[in-house]
């Protein structure tokens, strides 16, 4: 499978990364090189194979559903590019 400029522009938008129009053509070439290279996986028969879902054999641990942490609003806001009155500030979303 190959991608065209339009698909790359769509992926960039889905990934919320602005890509200048002039960058789309070289980026499309780079992505097609990688996609062409991974294409060889189609040679492997995986018809009755289950996808790997756990790297090592383990059961996910259970824990009580209780609050164990919190009260750290100041710490959490410390790295915010913009905050006000204990909130993150973003550009206006509702007109």
């Amino acid at each position: 499978m190959t991608v065209d400029k339009k698909t790359v522009a769509k992926m960039a938008h889905l990934a919320r990364i602005g890509v200048a129009d002039g960058d789309l053509a070289p980026l499309t070439g780079e992505l097609n090189n990688i996609l062409g290279w991974v294409e060889q996986l189609s040679e492997v028969d995986t018809d009755d194979v289950a996808p790997m879902t756990s790297v090592v054999e383990m059961t996910l641990p259970m824990r009580d559903d209780v609050v164990t942490d919190g009260g750290k609003a100041d710490d959490i806001l410390k790295n915010a590019p913009q905050s006000d009155h204990g909130f993150f500030v973003v550009p206006k979303v509702i007109e």
């Binding site: 980026l27 992505l31 289950a50 790997m52 993150f88």
Partner: protein
Amino acid sequence: MGALTELDIAGAIAAMDKGACSARELAAAHIAAMEGARPLNAFITETPEKALAMADAADAARARGAAGPLCGIPLAIKDLFCTDGVRTTAGSHILENFTPAYESTVSASLWHAGAVMLGKTNLDEFAMGSSNESSYFGPAINPWKAEGDDRERVPGGSSGGSTAAVAAGLAMAAIGTDTGGSIRQPAAFSGVVGLKPTYGRCSRWGVVAFASSLDHPGPITRTVMDAAIMLEAMAGFDWRDSTSVDVPATGFRAAVGGGVKGLKIGIPREFRIDGMAPEIEALWQTGIDWLRDAGATIVDISLPLTKYALPVYYIIAPAEASSNLARYDGVRYGLRDDGENLIDMYERSRAAGFGAEVRRRVLIGTYALSAGYYDAYYLKAQKVRGLIAGEFRAVFGDVDAILTPTAPSGAFALGEKSDDPIAMYLNDVFTVTADLAGIPAISVPAGKTADGLPLGLQVIGPAFDEAMVLRIGRVIEECAAFEGHPPAWWRQS
């Protein structure tokens, strides 16, 4: 006792225990080495005051008989581990000014054991790279140069700042992370020991996430014994990482001297790739001879799916990265570039904050996970990954461990491979399978190229048997007697 910056952990502990030096003297010697080695660009952030304060605390603990297993040992921390109150960049512009208010579990365990932090080391941006050249802060430089060739060389990546720091005597040991080879390949390029433990051995909590099912924290050291000492301090169950495994993490030091008598060592024929450099092939044969002479049985084995490991990796890792890196949105932390509206702000912030390799991988990952392509790419890759892990499990029914080269070449010059992403990806051809299977693997310096650059051999073992790869690694270390001190061309007067 030689120079303080040439000691290994075991030797430094012994020296401090008998009062031959203090933690403060060790820290001061390493701070001076670090500050004199800025041309290597191994550190993104140096923390000398913190190091001295921690060293004083270590000396006080030792004086009152409360020395932990790493009491007073000066370490470098890959700048992917969050450190409370110390800037943590992941080598990216987008986190250039991020200062965590918490400490990663692994680094906290090291401090609890008495270790001293020298600073945060350089890495490829978000650990995506095999040369350190994708760092926003410029590449770390390999302390080794080829004879008769003055070009600066890459230390490997992504943990290249950590391996350069240990090789150059700026830190006694370091920690890194390995997702496709990011501890072992730079360890081989820099002439140091790098250990990737079993997945789940060392907590990922507080480590900036790249590909969560592949990210493995681990130690980078001068000796195999030091790797065992570090692993005992770093490993252990952590309830904050849901994939952390609750199994005992002790006995690694005791295992190091076990030797290889009676062990069966597998040599996978599929690792003899086309166009393999003759000196890599020769080193591998030398390693086989060492282990046979030390009493191991050498067994020819087959891992037929080896050649598919890198393509599997370059679907799964970008897919997980595209999801993990969604958090850098200019709202909660990190770089923000204001736009006309919220979406525009996201797109501008991420365009300005991510470098070319990160952008490439996020887009590949977004594509692999997008509607209509998920089955063909991500699901297919996870199926082949399961088959690769199964091949290893089957082989470990017959052999105790596997011996391979660590990397297909010695360190290359800066810029030599930066134009071709796939040529760069091939650096991980021998390391990536152990990440996909989640099994332990160590790289030990074992020889040099004809022009004097370090080369490593890799030992891969079954899940949770780090003890096995350590004891085999120790035999290679003894046989190789690698001369690990590059001339200090970088030192500033």
